[in-house]
Symmetry: C2
Subunit: 280 residues, 2 copies
């Protein structure tokens, strides 16, 4: 699945992976920014809670988005792949200004939605301007190459990460979430070691990477975003190591971005942005 | 404490930080290599178990080094700073071909040995060819800037790491140990964020960075060595963030070295070394 083509004269919607555990009670900066992008009082949001098995997940986000003053918000859940081919659901996606994937297990999203009419509609709508956000498992699912599961630890180990195809809104990055909280540098770099084309984005909890229509990453939230760029990779031993052995990777670069800093996915340049003006 | 000057025509001894939990029963590759460097059957090793509070720590290493065929090995423990100014202990250090610091708490090493005659003797002897190894806390202690304690997690947070002066055999690197097992990338990069002069070396357990007299790092053991090089740092927000906030760091580079790969601390270049010849 390549990303859907952006029609001439139109602009892709924002893609907003969130590291999980975003603040839902007090300073809901990330969810508020999503609502604002989607049109504020005119926002029309579809919440897809399918990654989660908790019945409360969908309704909770509906409450929050209503609190934040959206015009309309609905839950759309999927129990079977047939649900995801239903024309009325496709229409509902086409009406929305924003789609939000909750956390849970990203393989539930992949297995239930992958290749369906709803998945296709979300990709086409995003290419035409609909904003798509996801938190935790929902964040992992947004990209072309998704980390399905893996082990913890900062050193990459052969076999520690399993990739699966994701929704494919973009193929420029591989996302990992709960980054600081679950110690995932190793599995993210292991994911890049297969093919350094993509950029690794490690999202701390309560932290979002807002990816603008022109592919600039902005950071919002209380944690950091670790950008791992393997473009300068000099050597990877991935093709020659046995399962369980550490992988030799030379020449990686990385940036820790916090709110205010940016990273351009085209030029692969980081900028301190607003941080260059020290606080008063 | 700057590193002791190497006398003309002499060569510094090896400096061997080990990430902790080195194999002691079966394939004792790291300890065997240390014994070999120290002279094998002619090796004369002093074990300093002072970081540990366990009485068994010193005798256990004596047993292991005897098993590995050294000529002579003694435990030298320190209960007070006065012990560390005793001339006979200084003489014993001067006789040794190798000094080995066990694990435990690196602040016990700093508080009991820092600035004493024995510490000075170890630095002078290393500059003249005596090899010095340390595992876990013993590894942290070897360098000029030592990580005294800190918090876990891959994203650097202001205040998460506390530095203290170490033994000062070299000031080229800052060492962190149990790297993969205790998730310490954040605190290591936080340590570098203060001043990117030094190179960060994160050692997995059962893994050693063997630092040769000409400052080339070789890797030995079953894990990886993460080398973090902040020389290209474009921006650090360390001076402007509050305690507990994530630190923005742009333009870091890193390498994951495994056995066979090398890193030159002068040129800051990594090499795949023996790994360029794939296994049969």
């Amino acid at each position: 699945m390549c990303p859907s083509k952006i029609p001439d004269g139109e602009e892709r919607g924002w893609i907003i992976p969130i590291g999980g555990a975003e603040e839902k009670e007090n300073d809901r900066a990330i969810l508020a920014r999503f609502v604002e992008l989607c049109g504020g009082a005119d926002a029309d949001i579809v919440v897809i809670p399918t990654a989660s098995k908790l019945l409360r997940t969908g309704p909770r986000y509906v409450e929050i988005f209503n609190d934040l003053g959206v015009g309309r918000v609905d839950v759309m859940d999927f129990d079977t792949r047939r649900d995801a081919d239903e024309p009325r659901r496709v229409e509902r996606i086409e009406e929305a200004t924003g789609v939000f994937f909750t956390g849970g297990n990203q393989l539930r999203l992949g297995t239930l939605l992958g290749g369906t009419a709803v998945a296709k509609a979300i990709r086409i709508c995003n290419a035409r301007g609909t904003h798509v956000a996801g938190t935790s498992a929902g964040a992992a699912f947004l990209s072309e190459h998704m980390i399905a599961f893996g082990e913890e630890g900062p050193t990459p180990i052969a076999g520690m990460v399993r990739l699966a195809p994701g929704l494919g809104l973009t193929n420029r990055f591989v996302i990992d979430q709960h980054f600081r909280q679950r110690d995932r540098l190793g599995r993210l770099t292991a994911a890049l070691a297969f093919n350094p084309f993509a950029i690794g984005i490690g999202l701390d909890e309560d932290t979002a990477a807002l990816i603008s229509p022109d592919n600039t990453v902005e950071v919002l939230g209380s944690g950091g975003v670790t950008v791992v760029d393997a473009a300068g990779l000099q050597f990877s031993s991935m093709a020659q190591v046995d399962e369980g052995e550490p992988v030799c990777l030379l020449g990686l670069s990385f940036h820790i971005l916090v709110a205010g800093a940016t990273f351009n996915l085209h030029t692969r340049k980081a900028s301190a942005g607003a941080l260059l003006r020290p606080k008063e």
